[in-house]
C-alpha cells in the first residue's frame, strides 16, 4: 500500500453557519498513487474545492469541522494535525495552485519576496542560494527573463505568467503532491494549452503526484490517469480515464458527457440533465442524484447506494447492483416475451 501518496477515507466535513449546519462533504473516498495524475471533476458546489482544502488543512477553523474520516499522507493521518505541524507539511510536501492567479499573489510584494517565503520556512538556505533557487525554478516553468521578473510585481505580469509564477511557488520545495484547483479556468485556450503542457512536463521531471481539480471534462481527458467524479458532496464514480470516457457507469457522468457540445450534432438540441444540483441542506435519504436521474426507481429514493466495484471501476448507483441488474434483465425478458 506504500505506493499511495494520499488516501482519503470516508471523509465527512460539516460547516456551521450561525445555528444551521450543513454537510457539504459526505463520505468521500479516494487515493492518489505515486506519480499519477488524479482528476476530480464536478460542477460548482459539489465539494471538490472543500475536499482539496481539507487535504491542505486550510478549512476555516471556526466554522468547519471534520466529523469523521481520515486523510492519510504517506500513511500518516494528517486530518487532525496541529497548525504548527501542518505548517511543516504545507508548501513543503503538499502544495497547491489556486484558480485565480490574479488574486492569489500579493500585489504589494515582488515575485522574489513571495517566492522566497516557502524556502525560508522549510529550508535552511542563505539569501543568495534562495535567489538562485528561485531563478532556477522560474526558468523551469518557462518564464522568459527570470532574472528581471524576480524583482517585478504581480501586476506587471500577464495572467498566464502569473499562473506560471504560482506553479513555481508550488514547486519550490519539491513537493510529493501538488493540488491544482482549477489551474486553467481563468485563462484563455491558447494559454491553457501552454499551462497544461507545463504541468505535464514538471510532473514527470519532479516525480510528484498531481491532484487536478476541474469542472472541465476535456482537461481531464487531456491530463489525468484516473478520475473521480463528485456530485453533491459524494464521490459517485471513480475509474481510469479511458474506462470512464468509454463506459461511464453513473447516470450523472453519462449526462455530463452527453451534454458537452462536441458530443452532440451541430445545431441539434443538446442533451441536458434536468433540474439542478440540490443544496446541501436539501439532501435527504436516498441517492443524491435520484431527483435528476432518468433511470431512478423506488430504491434510489429510499436508500443511499453503496459503492459497487467492477474491477477498478467504482460507481455509486443502484443500477450497478448485481441484484437489481438481474431483476431488470428479467423484466426486460418478460417484456420481450409478452
Amino acid at each position: 500500500m506504500s505506493d499511495k501518496v494520499l488516501q482519503v477515507n470516508d471523509l465527512r466535513i460539516r460547516f456551521r453557519n450561525g445555528k444551521e449546519t450543513s454537510q457539504p462533504i459526505r463520505g468521500v473516498n479516494f487515493h492518489v498513487k505515486k506519480g499519477e495524475t488524479l482528476g476530480i471533476v464536478g460542477e460548482s458546489g459539489c465539494g471538490k474545492s472543500v475536499t482539496s482544502l481539507s487535504v491542505m488543512g486550510l478549512l476555516p477553523i471556526k466554522t468547519s469541522e471534520i466529523v469523521s474520516g481520515e486523510i492519510l499522507f504517506n500513511n500518516r493521518d494528517i486530518s487532525r494535525l496541529k497548525e504548527k505541524e501542518y505548517r511543516k507539511l504545507r508548501g513543503n510536501e503538499i502544495s497547491m495552485i489556486f484558480q485565480e492567479p490574479m488574486t492569489s499573489l500579493n500585489p504589494v510584494f515582488t515575485i522574489g519576496e513571495q517566492l522566497s517565503e516557502p524556502l525560508r520556512q522549510h529550508k535552511k538556505m542563505s539569501k543568495s542560494e534562495i535567489r538562485n533557487n528561485i531563478i532556477a525554478v522560474l526558468k523551469q516553468v518557462g518564464l522568459p527573463r527570470a532574472e528581471q521578473i524576480i524583482d517585478e510585481y504581480p501586476h506587471q505580469l500577464s495572467g498566464g505568467m502569473r499562473q506560471r509564477v504560482m506553479i513555481s511557488l508550488a514547486l519550490l520545495c519539491h513537493p510529493k503532491l501538488m493540488i491544482a484547483d482549477e489551474p486553467t479556468t481563468a485563462l484563455d485556450v491558447t494559454i491553457q494549452a501552454q499551462i497544461l503542457e507545463l504541468l505535464k512536463e514538471i510532473k514527470v521531471k519532479n516525480e510528484m503526484s498531481l491532484m487536478l481539480i476541474t469542472h472541465d471534462l476535456s482537461v481531464v481527458a487531456e491530463m489525468c490517469d484516473r478520475v473521480v467524479v463528485m456530485y453533491a458532496g459524494e464521490v459517485v464514480e471513480e475509474a481510469e480515464v479511458n474506462e470512464l470516457f468509454d463506459r461511464p457507469l453513473h447516470p450523472y457522468t453519462q449526462g455530463l458527457m452527453k451534454s458537452l457540445p462536441s458530443n452532440n450534432e451541430r445545431k441539434s438540441k443538446l442533451f441536458s440533465i434536468d433540474g439542478q444540483v440540490p443544496k446541501p441542506s436539501e439532501i435527504g435519504e436516498g441517492c443524491v442524484f435520484a431527483n435528476r436521474c432518468p433511470f431512478a426507481f423506488e430504491k434510489c429514493f429510499a436508500e443511499t447506494p453503496p459503492a459497487f466495484n467492477r474491477g477498478k471501476h467504482i460507481s455509486k448507483c443502484w443500477l450497478q447492483d448485481p441484484a437489481v441488474k438481474e431483476v431488470m434483465q428479467n423484466e426486460e425478458r418478460s417484456i420481450v416475451n409478452s
Partner: protein
C-alpha cells in the same frame, strides 16, 4: 430570409485614450480597430477571441453602450453610429443584449417582476394589463413559473438568473440579440440547458444572434458564421463548419488546436503559441500576430495584411495567402 442583411458593421473603431499627465502624449488603446462584418437575418454570427481582443467592446459599440470612435453600424438601413440619443434609445427595443455575468447583470434590489417590467415600461410596449400576462408567458417560455415573480435575483441559481437575463432581452420581441458570453459563467449541465433555450427562442421568434464567446465548442455547436478576432482586428471570417474544418489564418489554426480533446484516446497535433497576447496599447507593427506566428515572413513585420477571399465568403487577413502558391500548400498541410 437568409440573404437579407440585418446588420452591417463598417470600419468600426473604438479607441481609448489614457492620459499620461498634462504635457505627455496620450497612450491610445485600440480596443476595436477597423472591424468590418455583416450579419444576415436569422443567422447566428459568432465573434471569437481571447480575452482583451475587443470582442465584447465590439458588441457594446454596436448597441452604443459605448460610443464608437469612428465607423458605421447599419441596422436595417439606418446608421446607428450617428443617431441622436433618443432615437437610438427607442431603436434598442429591436436590439437587445444578454450579458455574461448573471450575478452582476440583474439588479439585486428588484424583484423579477420589476426587472422584466422595466423594458416594457421604458419602451411603452403593450397595454398595462397585458404586460403582466406577457411577463408570465415569457417566464414560462424560459422555464420559470409564475410564483417566481416576486422573488429577488439572489434566490435563483446561476442558470436561472441567466434565463431571467434572456427573458428580459427577449420580452421586447427584438430582431437582434447580442449575447456576450452568455454561458461561460455556467456549469456544463446548466450550460447545455441555456444553449437549448437560446436555440429554441431563435426558432420561435426568428431571432438573429451576435454570439460573443471564447468557448470554441459552444461556437461550433450553435453558430452559422464565425469571425475570429485578435488584438482588435478580425483576422478570419468563415462559415462555422468551414472554419473548423479548414482554418486558414495561423492564429485560428493555433486557437483550434489548443482546444482540449474530448476523449483521452483522441490524438491532436497541437500548435502551442509562444508568449502572450501583446498589449493593445502597443500593438506590434504590421500584422499584429507576427511575433507569435510560426510562419511569420519578413513582410509581416512591416505591412498590415489585406483580406484574401477564398471560396464561400471565407476570408483571412494573412500575407501567407497573398504570396505564391507553394507557401499556401505548406501552411495548409500543417493544419
Amino acid at each position: 430570409m437568409k440573404n437579407e442583411v440585418l446588420l452591417t458593421v463598417k470600419n468600426l473603431k473604438k479607441y481609448y485614450e489614457i492620459s499620461q499627465g498634462m504635457f505627455k502624449e496620450k497612450i491610445v488603446v485600440r480596443a476595436v480597430d477597423d472591424v468590418n462584418f455583416t450579419v444576415m437575418r436569422g443567422e447566428t454570427f459568432a465573434l471569437v477571441g481571447e480575452s482583451g481582443c475587443g470582442k465584447s467592446t465590439t458588441g457594446r459599440t454596436i448597441l452604443r453602450l459605448v460610443e464608437p470612435t469612428a465607423g458605421e453600424v447599419i441596422f436595417k438601413g439606418t446608421n446607428l453610429a450617428s443617431l441622436p440619443y433618443e432615437q437610438m434609445r427607442s431603436l434598442r427595443k429591436q436590439m437587445q443584449m444578454v450579458f455574461q455575468d448573471p450575478y452582476a447583470s440583474l439588479n439585486p434590489k428588484k424583484t423579477i417582476l420589476q426587472i422584466l417590467m422595466e423594458p416594457l415600461k421604458v419602451h411603452n410596449k403593450f397595454d398595462k394589463k397585458e404586460r403582466l400576462r406577457k411577463i408570465i408567458a415569457m417566464l414560462k417560455i424560459v422555464g420559470l413559473s409564475e410564483y417566481h415573480l416576486d422573488r429577488y435575483p439572489h434566490e435563483f441559481s446561476g442558470g436561472q438568473r441567466q434565463r431571467i437575463g434572456i427573458a428580459r432581452a427577449v420580452i421586447l420581441q427584438p430582431d437582434f440579440i447580442i449575447a456576450d458570453e452568455p454561458v461561460s459563467a455556467l456549469d456544463v449541465s446548466v450550460q447545455s440547458q441555456v444553449i437549448n433555450l437560446m436555440l429554441e427562442l431563435q426558432k420561435e421568434f426568428g431571432l438573429t444572434y451576435l454570439f460573443i464567446s471564447h468557448d470554441l465548442s459552444v461556437i461550433q455547436h450553435m453558430t452559422d458564421r464565425v469571425a475570429v478576432m485578435y488584438l482588435g482586428k478580425i483576422v478570419e471570417v468563415a462559415d462555422t463548419e468551414d472554419l473548423f474544418r479548414n482554418p486558414k489564418h495561423p492564429y485560428t489554426q493555433a486557437l483550434l488546436s489548443a482546444v482540449p480533446v474530448a476523449h483521452p484516446k483522441e490524438e491532436k497535433k497541437r500548435i502551442i503559441l509562444k508568449g502572450d497576447v501583446p498589449s493593445p496599447a502597443n500593438p506590434p507593427s504590421g500584422c499584429a500576430f507576427h511575433p507569435r506566428c510560426p510562419f511569420a515572413l519578413e513582410i509581416c513585420k512591416t505591412k498590415m495584411p489585406e483580406p484574401t477571399t477564398f471560396e464561400k465568403g471565407h476570408t483571412a487577413n494573412c500575407h501567407l495567402y497573398i504570396k505564391n502558391e507553394e507557401e499556401i500548400e505548406y501552411v495548409t498541410s500543417y493544419s
